[in-house]
Amino acid sequence: MSGSSGRTTVISRTVARIVVPIILVTAIALLFRGHNLPGGGFIGAVLAAAAFALVYVIFGLEFIQREILDIAPDGSERHQLVESYRWMASLGLALAVASSLAPLAFDMPFLTQGVLFVEGIPIYHELEVASAFAFDIGVFFAVVGGLLTIVAEVGNE
């Protein structure tokens, strides 16, 4: 594939080492602040997927498997990564569905979202907990999983 480490320059590899964690942190930040500021599950997810894609291009798929995820290389290993991405996507979808079904247990319509303000917390004084956040996390994982499945499978070819 295009991004095997032999064909990329030292500069790109060094930059990627620094940039990728920053991108990931930004993605997570976008996810967290989404309810009140620009951002949200979908944007965060696409950004996170872009970070992984960058690692592919620069270091290659094998690197992620061996060095980061520590999956033993055994002939069919290339599919294992895709498998875990698929799991991630399904898990995200399941989380989103579960969080939308939860209100039914409290006799509220499907997909009702609630907001809880927790008082008396040090430093913050007041913390807003929105049930929509659970849904957003579901969106995040579903999209990251879905996109990475595509990228990994296409990149494998």
Binding site: P38, F42, V57, A89, V115, D136, T149
Partner: protein
């Protein structure tokens, strides 16, 4: 004969409401049993027939329970309350008669199947489908709601499809099943359009509050509905649409072609679906809607009479002639069925009370003799090993009991006095006679055609009975005795024929009178028939039928050959059907390679072309004006950004390689993102940026596998075509943006989002009716329109799985 004396009612017992649980059980018990049939078959094997017959018997018992209770009325269960559709069941005479036929003949047929289907393949499927069919037919009979009626109606078509195609490997079965499916289902769709027009009409009249799907409500306000339909010129279209449903189902000319082919099904199926019950659905529909379209003071020759009397008499005559031309006993019975259904529809078509009486009575009579005859045909085919008319004869010696049943049923079918078929045919003659007498002139064609058709009916009926007499033809092998399970059901029906013949008024008072009440407007009243004692015009019509029939019987073979000789090319309805289906197939075979070349660009061309044509056509049809653009002020940065995007777009077009093309394309994307930032839409800008980045990366991954340069430049016509298409797509998108932004959405919605999106000033620690977030885009995504987001993430996951499958399946020999 002073044939009938309409009398005002049985002593009026106040109608009892049907029991909801029982009515539900009647319709759904067969379905439930059908679901368990495969499991039962594992336990019982071929004895599943008796399990199924027991289910039918229970259903029959439940129907009888409602009948004895004198149930008359509607029970409704909520189904789609937002549309006013309910699962309503209406119990009255007509519904009970059809329900009796479906469950009663069902018991006999399922018992008979136990003998007939011995050693046949696919029995679990066979019994499950028969039971499901019985449930659907009971649903049709009892439906009190247009949508419920339509659903059960199509379910009967579906089960008929499966049963006709029972021998799945045989070409003839496949052809027959497909034919019946195409004809009956498409007819049902026309009927649905007619129903929807009726519902629309119910909404237009002030007599009914809102719209209604309830058949009985429509009938109760028949005058108002007819007025609306006439005023808008829709009365005849609705009649034709509903008539198409009835005509396709009841195999009326020219849609009769599917019925003879349907004889590919095992004989019990033919006896049950294609003579006694399913084909009666069309007749039932005509009877059910008769009081809606035919007021008490109807014109003698109104639209209704013109459509249904003509359709019915035409079918009665043509199908009777085709029956004479038949060479196979089941084919003969199939055409005969179409002919008798034509008789019933013609009878319902006439506006006088004799017509309604004839139709109501003949439904019962036809079911009794025809189901018996089909089972006789099954015995002959099973025991003599052939169904060819010219190879059968003298069967009386081998099948004595069957012969008695066949003779009784055939004479009844011929309309020979004093059998029950005679009484209903007399009523039809009487009805045509009075219709002609009232109108005079051309209307005298009605009685003449009725007699003409009846002569042929007489001929083929006698032919069927004659199979049991005379000499045995050479080559007829040893004829076995039928098993008892195959003999008892037709014998019961034969006894029923005799019982009705002996005491017609008992059956009329018990049930048929109520059926009559269901198919005429106004209050129900019964009628009675008497054996003729004086020479009336309609008795003379019967005498002519029998005498001419008897005189021409020796020339049966000449007639048979003559009709067959006349059936060439376009005079056969089959010719039209086959050519139509063949034409469709050839057309799609010819078109497919042009549209589906396997080249991505062809698909893109066609789908883009379709999108442009649909969108522009829609705008043109809606007569949209291009909105005036006013107050447009663009800041210098936006102009710059758009200019860069424009330049990049041109660069994409002239890019020499894939890499250059993709890179310049992403310039356009990033410019759009900057435009969003300048237009104060940070969320959109963020999304656009990250998506653009990711797409770029994916493109670069894919490009690795593609040739670095484009191939040879395409020829000029292709370039021009693509250029025009691009222009059209661009224009469409621009227009769409203009139109959609011009139609500013309801400010109510906007206000709702703004008011409800944030945290209210005064709030409890927990609340669920506000979004509670200051980013309204996100609140809309995850809260207000959460279900949209749910759909979108499901699409993302599905798309990734689809790509996974595509990539992995490649090279696994899935492609040719």
């Amino acid at each position: 004969m002073g044939l009938t004396t309409p009398k005002s009612a049985l002593p009026t017992i106040s109608p009892v409401q049907p029991t909801p649980e029982v009515v539900l059980a009647v319709v759904f018990l067969p379905f439930l049993a059908a679901a368990f049939t495969p499991a039962v078959y594992r336990l019982l094997g071929e004895r599943t027939a008796y399990f199924a017959a027991a289910v039918a018997l229970v259903t029959l018992g439940l129907v009888t329970d409602q009948y004895l209770a004198g149930a008359d009325g509607t029970v409704a269960f909520e189904w789609i309350p937002s549309l006013g559709v309910s699962l309503a069941f209406h119990v009255d005479g007509l519904a009970l008669l059809i329900a009796f036929l479906a469950s009663g003949v069902g018991v006999l047929i399922l018992t008979y199947s136990g003998g007939y289907m011995h050693g046949e393949p696919g029995q679990a499927k066979y019994y499950a489908t028969l039971l499901a069919f019985m449930g659907s037919m009971l649903g049709v009979a009892l439906a009190g709601d247009l949508i419920a009626l339509f659903v059960f109606w199509e379910l009967t078509s579906l089960s008929s499809f499966i049963l006709i195609g029972h021998y799945t490997g045989e070409k003839a079965s496949q052809y027959a099943a497909r034919k019946s499916m195409l004809i009956t289902v498409s007819g049902g769709l026309f009927m649905l359009v007619g129903f929807l027009l009726l519902v629309w009409a119910s909404g237009q009249t002030t007599a009914i509050e809102g719209t209604t799907y309830s058949i009985q409500t429509l009938i109760a306000h028949a005058d108002a509905i007819r007025e609306v339909l006439s005023a808008s010129g829709l009365l005849v279209p609705v009649l034709v649409l509903v008539g198409l449903g009835a005509a396709t189902k009841s195999a009326q000319v020219p849609f009769h072609v599917w019925l003879p082919n349907a004889m590919e099904a095992p004989t019990p199926v033919s006896a049950f679906l294609h003579s006694a019950t399913m084909v009666k659905a069309g007749v039932y529909l005509v009877g059910r809607f008769r009081p809606l379209f035919l007021p008490e003071d109807a014109a003698v020759l109104g639209e209704w009479t013109l459509i249904f009397a003509v359709l019915g008499l035409l079918t009665m005559t043509v199908a009777a002639m085709l029956a004479v031309s038949a060479t196979d006993i089941k084919e003969l019975l199939a055409y005969s069925t179409a002919s008798h259904l034509g008789l019933i529809i013609a009878a319902f078509g006439f506006a006088n009370s004799y017509g309604a009486e004839a139709g109501a009575f003949h439904i019962l009579n036809h079911a009794s003799f025809k189901a018996a005859l089909f089972m006789v045909a099954g015995i002959i085919a099973h025991e003599a090993g052939t169904r060819k008319i010219d190879r059968l004869g003298g069967l009386r010696k081998h099948l004595p009991i069957t012969a008695v049943i066949a003779v009784v049923a055939s004479l009844s079918m011929a309309g020979f006095p004093p059998f029950n078929g005679f009484y209903s045919k007399e009523l039809l003659f009487e009805s045509t006679y009075y219709a002609a007498k009232h109108m005079g002139g051309i209307a005298w064609v009605f009685p003449v055609v009725a007699v003409f058709g009846s002569i042929f009916t007489f001929l083929y009926s006698i032919k069927f009975a004659s199979l049991f007499f005379g000499d045995e033809p050479d080559g007829l092998g040893h004829v076995h005795r039928p098993p008892i399970a195959m003999l008892v059901p037709p014998a019961i029906l034969g006894a029923l024929v005799l019982a009705i013949s002996a005491q017609p008024n008992l059956f009329i008072e018990g049930l048929v009178g109520e059926v009559y009440g269901s198919v005429v407007p106004g209050d129900a009243h019964s009628f009675s028939v008497h054996f003729p004692t004086e020479l009336t015009p309609y008795v003379i019509m019967s005498i002519i039928t029998i005498v001419v029939g008897a005189v021409s019987f020796p020339f049966y073979d000449t007639l048979h050959d003559g009709i067959n000789a006349a059936l060439r090319g376009p005079t056969r309805a089959n010719w039209w059907y086959d050519n139509f289906v063949e034409g469709l197939t050839t057309t799609s075979v010819a078109v497919t390679p042009k549209v589906q070349t396997g080249l991505l660009r062809t698909y893109a061309t066609w789908s883009l072309f379709g999108f442009v044509a649909l969108a522009l056509g829609g705008y043109a049809a809606a007569g949209l004006q291009i909105p005036a653009i006013d107050g447009l002020s663009v800041s210098i940065p936006i102009v710059l950004v758009l200019l860069v995007a424009l330049v990049a777009a041109f660069a994409v077009d002239i890019a020499p390689s894939h890499v250059a093309g993709v890179l310049t394309l992403s310039i356009v994307g990033f410019m759009v993102a900057i435009f969003y930032i300048l237009a104060d839409a940070p969320d959109l800008a963020l999304t656009q940026l990250v998506v653009e980045t990711l797409v770029l990366v994916i493109f670069l991954l894919v490009l690795d596998r593609l040739p670095a340069f484009y191939g040879d430049a395409p020829d000029r016509t292709v370039s021009i075509r693509d250029g025009l298409l691009s222009l059209a797509v661009g224009t469409t998108v621009a227009l769409t943006v203009l139109f959609s932004t011009d139609a500013s959405p309801d400010p109510l919605l906007q206000r709702f989002f703004i008011e409800r999106g944030g945290v209210p000033a005064e709030h409890p620690p927990f609340f669920a009716d506000f979004g509670g977030g200051s980013n309204i885009v996100n609140v809309i995504l995850v809260d207000f329109r959460g279900i949209d987001t749910m759909g979108e993430i499901s699409v993302v996951v599905m798309a990734s799985l689809a790509i996974l499958t595509l990539v992995r399946m490649r090279g696994q020999g899935e492609t040719q």
